[in-house]
Every structure is written in structure tokens, then in C-alpha cells.
């Protein structure tokens, strides 16, 4: 009896709710440490980024005008879907070098972190809004508002948990995101895109690219329609580049140094607040 041949997985990009190949046609050969497995990852281009930005901008107005309860339910569902796909991530995380125990922990924490932010989606407004006692007869109130489209460079050293830790608070706050996955450990990012795809997340709210940082960081940080840029890493040249380019259209700059994403202090409503604007309104009180 002959052996059954497996159908090998193709790793594509995730843009606008679809899985296109990179328009550049280029690829990166990724191998595990033992060099037993070889996978071709898309080498994303600036045009892919441009297309992702168009999708993200198209999606954000609808996403931010949904009820907070709806966003909370969708984030919860992403957690549900990830829970159901544990085995696939186990395989990819161990292939990328984690032990079985480490992989289990990373997946559990990723799920729990999604549930954590699902629980914040309809509450952070209460914690961060105010009615301000101005000294004039006006009703004065301050509310947070989604900043819009966030571009992000994901942590390089964490294939899944780092990615989730960046995406979840951004979308819980009503923003859309274009994120460049870890260059060293890219496998989970596209599988996570499949999880998003089955979770009622509207097309374009999350867009995931793979590719080389040094090719893409310039475009992520200089695009004039990006409202906030998140950079994860410790390379001071990269950090300076991001900060310099942000000045072009006064983007918000958010920096996360390399860290152990497993620690609880790396989930917080303040991460949501980082991608929020503050709107204050006045209205007279009187008949």
C-alpha cells in the first residue's frame, strides 16, 4: 500500500478579509532550526502594504461605529476559534523552536488575552471618560474615540502571543490595523489570520503581512494615512526612523521594547488608550 501524500500548506498574506499572494511574487525561505522543514513565506512589498492600508481605512468607520458589545462579542469569538485550533498552533510553535509546555502556555495565554480584551471593549469607555465640572453653566464631557488606522511592527521574538497582544487592544478600541508579523517566527501569524477569518471580524479590520522588516519599516512609518504606529523591538536605528517618519503627519508613536509577553502586566486597558483620541464637548445647561 502506498503512503498518502500530504497537501502542503501555502502561506499567503491576509488583506481585506482575503488571502492574496504578495503582488511582488517574491518569497522568503523559512526553515526550522534542524532544517527539516522548509516553508515559503510571502515577502510582502510596499504595494501590499498600500493595499492593506486601503482596506484598513475602508473598514475602520464601520468597525468603530458598531456597538461596543458587538466588538466585545467578536473578540470573544476570536478566542473561541483559537481555542478550537490549538493543535495547529502547537505544531507550528514547536516547529519554530518552543517546547511542548512553552507552546501550550503561549496558546492558553493568547486565548485568555483575547478574552481579557473582549471584556474591556465595552468598559474602557467608562473608565476613561469623564464629566468635567467646569466653572460655567455647561455640560462638559470627555470621551475616548478610536484614532483610526494603526500600523504595527509585531514583536520579533514571539510568534503568537506578541502578535495577539498588539492586535487585541487596538481593535477592542475600534481601530483597524495593518501589522507586520515576526520575521523570525512568521508561521503563526498567517494561521492566526485564518482564525480571524472565521470569527466574524469584518474584512479589513485586521490585515497581516509577512516580509522583511528592513524593507517595510520605512513604508509602515511614513504612510500619510496611518494615524498611529506601533513599533516593537530594541533596534535604536529602527526606532529613530519610525519616530522621524511619524513627524510627516504627526502620527502617534507607540513603542514596546522586547519583553516577556507572558507577563500579565502586558495586558492593560492603557494599551487600548494608547490608540484613542480624546474628544471633549460642551453644551449649555439652561432653558
Amino acid at each position: 500500500m502506498s503512503k498518502r501524500i500530504d497537501i502542503q500548506k501555502t502561506y499567503k498574506l491576509f488583506i481585506g478579509g482575503k488571502f492574496p499572494r504578495t503582488e511582488s511574487g517574491r518569497y522568503i525561505k523559512w526553515t526550522d532550526v534542524k532544517e527539516t522543514t522548509v516553508v515559503n513565506i510571502c515577502r510582502g512589498s510596499r504595494k501590499d502594504f498600500r493595499n492593506a492600508m486601503v482596506s484598513a481605512r475602508g473598514a475602520v468607520s464601520g468597525w468603530s461605529s458598531r456597538t461596543a458589545y458587538n466588538r466585545a462579542q467578536i473578540l470573544y469569538r476570536i478566542g473561541e476559534m483559537l481555542e478550537g485550533r490549538k493543535d495547529q498552533f502547537m505544531a507550528e510553535l514547536t516547529l519554530q523552536g518552543l517546547s511542548k509546555k512553552q507552546a501550550e502556555n503561549e496558546i492558553s495565554q493568547s486565548i485568555d488575552r483575547l478574552i481579557y480584551y473582549a471584556g474591556w471593549a465595552d468598559k474602557f469607555q467608562q473608565v476613561f471618560s469623564r464629566v468635567n465640572p467646569v466653572s460655567l453653566p455647561y455640560f462638559n464631557f470627555t470621551v475616548p474615540e478610536a484614532t483610526g488606522v494603526v500600523a504595527a511592527i509585531a514583536p520579533d521574538d514571539s510568534s503568537l502571543l506578541g502578535l495577539v497582544s498588539i492586535i487585541a487592544p487596538v481593535i477592542a478600541g475600534g481601530n483597524s490595523i495593518v501589522i507586520l508579523a515576526s520575521e523570525s517566527f512568521p508561521l503563526c501569524s498567517i494561521t492566526f489570520a485564518e482564525v480571524l477569518h472565521s470569527s466574524d471580524v469584518p474584512d479589513g479590520v485586521v490585515n497581516i503581512l509577512t516580509g522583511y522588516r528592513n524593507e517595510l519599516i520605512e513604508h509602515f512609518s511614513s504612510h500619510m494615512d496611518v494615524n498611529a504606529i506601533i513599533y516593537c523591538g530594541d533596534n535604536s536605528d529602527d526606532k529613530k526612523l519610525v519616530e522621524t517618519n511619524a513627524a510627516l503627519n504627526v502620527k502617534h508613536v507607540i513603542h514596546f521594547p522586547n519583553q516577556d509577553w507572558a507577563k500579565n502586566l502586558h495586558q492593560s486597558p492603557y494599551h487600548i488608550l494608547k490608540c484613542q483620541e480624546t474628544k471633549t464637548t460642551w453644551h449649555p445647561i439652561g432653558v
Binding site: 474591556w120 468598559k123 467608562q126 473608565v127 453644551h283 432653558v287
Partner: protein, 482 residues
């Protein structure tokens, strides 16, 4: 050309063949259904046809003791030791399971309590699961809810709820209590125990550790045993002001904490610059929705004199298109009155209103033969001194007065021992902020009425109660802030 036709709606019955109801429900204690120690049962009937649906075990003093000690054990050994985020996950499960069996819950709620299926399907059940979903998320986030304070659970809560929104009231009680780390004993109202029993089954499905939630049935006696039990740390009660006062007296000196959500006689104010047709619809929502069995009902209408005739005339026409009938018909607007006792109370007040000299108008809708029914009713030519303007009727009966100036209506709106809710209708923004500032009530609706959300606090001033449910404020009744 063609002559105009009359067109009436055919019956549109909700299907009931998919629901699962037992003939008998026991007490839900320590994760299992067990008979009462004294083996007593009482019937629960369908108020739209007076037929028995099921029988339910009655909890005596010994059963209350069992339930409380089960809650205490679960608190000490399991629930207080669990990581908050894991507690949250149980509550999320309950929310999702409710969503999955939503239609079954809606049908049973309408059968047991009399409210229209459209309401239980579109309002009660979705709000209930939303309430669990909202509070589930707070379980591991309490450090953000109270600046500068740590929020510790109280221990065991005794919770008593009314019959007007049976499942929703259970959700309002269970969700914040569980999210803050407490365990509890819940006593549903004696005329509407069934959705609480189905909720107990959902709780079993969610695999909630035994004893965290206990549900015991009975009437006033059972409630007293619970309130007076020595090992309860907190009482949460929604119901009449009279019973609320009894509870306060009973727990005096005991150190027990309590929150009370009591009666109301809300003022609904229509200014001449209101969007008139929407305001008329708002009046209907305020007093006729849920058969007027709503503590925050807009039962006192104040209309600015210049638009009174138009408003009242439109209201009367609108009342004529309200369909009173079988709660399980999808087109029913107004269902059955919850019980014979409540029906008699409403009739008594309406007779009083007529005797006091009020002018009555009732919709001409035909009422079914069997069951408990009351047609939507309004009174004009009444004033602040009329008893039907002062006292809570808890039925589809509206008392209407006119006013001339904003100062006058604010005084009259506040001229009541109650202070649960209020409403105002005007197109002018600054007037909204001024009037809402001056009305002494806990929930004020501007250009709407009877809107609820788990994120929005709900609670009364004065004799309408103490404490709030919903939002961050809803957490504070279940914690010790240190």
C-alpha cells in the same frame, strides 16, 4: 378605482413544540435539583389562560439553611480561591448558553409571566445574556473600577427578585455578584419561577462549581427566612417599597449590607417643542409596555398645555392600535396581567380614579375570555392630590396632567416620595441638561423611555431604593472597598 379594504392580521402563533419543560421542578441547591425537606410544592400557572404549567418545590426554613450553607462552603472552598479570570470564564459561558437557547427561554418567559413573546424575544432574553456577558468581563478587572481601593467580595448574597422581568432580574442579580467573587442564594418570585429553573439547568451545563449559585422557590415566607438568615452577608432586593422597608428593619443591627430597588411613579414630561409623534410613542413605551408592570414606568404624564390636546388625541388613537392578547402571538403588544391579585389591584385603582373624579379613556380592544387582562387606560382631569397620581398602580394606567412652565413641572415631578426614573421630551438640548439636573430621580430618559443596557446604572432616589444595578456602580453593592 378600487375601494379601500379592511385588513386584519391573522393569528401568528410562536411555535412551542421545541421547548423542554418538566412537570415538576425541585430546589437547585449545591448544583443539583433536590426536593424540599418538607416536600411541599406549589403550582405556577399561565396567566393568559389560567392553566397550570408545572409545579415547583417550596423552600422552607431548613431548605434555606441548606442553600446558604452550600453557598458558604462554595465561597470558602472554591469560588474565593479561584483566579478571577477563571470566574469570568464561567460567566461568559452562561451568557453564551443563554444566547444559544434564547428562543426556548423567550417562550417559557411569556407562558409563565404573561408578557408578549415579542418582548421576551427581543428585549428580556437578549438583555439577560448581555448582562452576563458584560459583567463576565469585569471579574479580572476590578482594580480599575474603584480608584485607590481594592474590591473584595462580601461572601454570600441573598437575592430576591420580582415577577415583572423574571429572567432579566435574575441576570441583574447573578452577574455582578458572581463577577465580584460572591456566591449566592436566589429566590425568584412565586408566580414566575420557570425561567430561573431553566437558568439553573444552564448553570449546570456551564459546569459552574456546585453551591456557587443556589435557586430556591417560595413566596413571602421563604423570602423572610432568607433575609433573616444569620450567615448572609448581603441582601439584594427588587420589589415593592413596602417589602423594602421590612427588609431594612429586619437587618437593622445585623451588619448585613443591602441594596434595594423599589417602587416608582415616574413623571414623563412633554414640552411643546418636543418631536410630537415620537413623544406619543414614548408615552406608550413608558406605561403600556410590559403591561405597565415596570417599576420605572412613566405613569404620571405632564404635557405642556399648548400641545395637550394634540398629544392626548394622538395617544388615544395610538392606544386603539395596541393589540392586547395571547402572549404567544407574535403580534401581541400587551400581554396578560401577571396574576389575579395584581389584576384586582389595578381594577381597584381604576375604580378609585373614577370615584375621585378623573375622566377615563380605555382602548376598545377586545379582551380574551379566560385569563387576566386589562385594557390600556388613561385618566385626564386629575391632579397631584389624586391617589392614582400618587400611588404606584403597576398596571397599564396613565394619569395625565398639564403644566405651563418648566419650573412648575420640575416641582411637580419631584413632588413624590419616589425617585426612580423620569423622562422629558424636547428638541432643545440645553433644556435637557437643565431639567435632568433638577429632577430628583436616578434614571432620566431624554427623548426616549425605558431603555436599559448592562453598562448603564439603574437605581432610585428616596423611597425608590438604595444602590444601583448596571455599569460600574452595579459592582459596588457586592464588594468591600479597602
Amino acid at each position: 378605482m378600487n375601494k379601500a379594504q379592511t385588513w386584519e392580521y391573522s393569528p401568528a402563533p410562536e411555535s412551542t413544540d421545541h421547548i423542554q419543560l418538566k412537570d415538576r421542578y425541585d430546589l437547585f441547591i449545591n448544583g443539583e435539583f433536590v426536593p424540599g425537606v418538607e416536600g411541599r410544592y406549589f403550582d405556577t400557572i399561565n396567566p393568559s389562560n389560567e392553566e397550570k404549567i408545572a409545579e415547583v418545590a417550596e423552600a422552607g426554613k431548613a431548605d434555606i439553611d441548606k442553600a446558604v450553607s452550600s453557598a458558604r462552603k462554595a465561597y470558602d472552598k472554591t469560588w474565593s480561591k479561584m483566579l478571577p479570570k477563571e470566574r469570568g470564564k464561567y460567566i461568559f459561558r452562561i451568557a453564551r448558553l443563554l444566547q444559544e437557547s434564547a428562543r426556548e427561554f423567550s417562550v417559557i418567559e411569556s407562558m409563565d409571566g404573561g408578557k408578549p413573546i415579542r418582548e421576551s424575544r427581543d428585549v428580556d432574553i437578549p438583555l439577560s445574556s448581555a448582562h452576563f456577558f458584560y459583567y463576565a468581563g469585569w471579574a479580572d478587572k476590578l482594580e480599575y473600577a474603584f480608584p485607590g481601593r481594592t474590591a473584595n467580595p462580601l461572601g454570600v448574597a441573598g437575592q430576591i427578585i420580582p415577577w415583572n422581568f423574571p429572567l432579566l432580574m435574575a441576570a441583574w442579580k447573578l452577574a455582578p455578584a458572581l463577577a465580584t467573587g460572591n456566591t449566592l442564594v436566589l429566590k425568584p418570585a412565586e408566580t414566575t419561577p420557570l425561567t430561573a429553573m431553566k437558568l439553573a439547568e444552564v448553570i449546570q451545563e456551564a459546569d459552574l462549581p456546585p453551591g456557587v449559585v443556589n435557586i430556591v422557590n417560595g413566596a413571602g415566607e421563604t423570602g423572610k427566612f432568607l433575609v433573616n438568615h444569620g450567615d448572609i452577608d448581603k441582601i439584594a432586593f427588587t420589589g415593592s417599597t413596602e417589602v423594602g422597608k421590612y427588609i431594612m428593619k429586619s437587618v437593622a443591627g445585623s451588619g448585613k449590607k443591602y441594596t434595594l430597588e423599589l417602587g416608582g411613579k415616574a413623571a414623563n414630561i412633554i414640552f411643546e417643542d418636543a418631536a410630537i409623534d415620537q413623544a406619543v410613542e414614548g408615552i406608550v413605551n413608558a406605561i403600556f409596555f410590559n403591561q405597565g408592570h415596570v417599576c420605572c414606568a412613566g405613569s404620571r404624564l405632564y404635557v405642556q398645555e399648548g400641545v395637550a390636546e394634540e398629544i392626548i388625541s394622538k395617544l388615544q388613537k395610538r392606544m386603539e392600535s395596541l393589540i392586547v392578547g395571547d402572549p404567544l402571538d407574535k403580534n401581541t403588544d400587551i400581554g396578560a396581567i401577571n396574576s389575579k391579585m395584581q389584576l384586582n389591584k389595578i381594577k381597584k385603582y381604576v375604580k378609585l380614579g373614577k370615584d375621585e373624579g378623573g375622566t377615563i379613556y380605555q382602548s376598545s380592544c377586545p379582551l380574551p375570555e379566560k385569563g387576566y387582562w386589562f385594557a390600556p387606560t388613561i385618566f385626564t382631569d386629575v391632579s397631584q392630590s389624586n391617589r392614582i397620581v400618587q400611588e404606584e398602580i403597576f398596571g397599564p394606567v396613565l394619569a395625565i396632567q398639564t403644566f405651563r412652565t418648566v419650573d412648575e413641572v420640575i416641582l411637580k415631578a419631584n413632588n413624590s416620595p419616589y425617585g426612580l426614573s423620569g423622562g422629558l421630551w424636547t428638541d432643545k438640548g440645553s433644556k435637557i441638561f437643565k431639567v435632568t439636573q433638577d429632577i430628583r430621580a436616578g434614571v432620566i430618559w431624554a427623548n426616549t423611555f425605558n431603555k436599559f443596557d448592562p453598562a448603564s446604572p439603574f437605581g432610585g432616589y428616596k423611597e425608590s431604593g438604595v444602590g444601583s444595578e448596571g455599569g460600574i456602580e452595579g459592582l459596588s453593592g457586592y464588594v468591600n472597598l479597602v
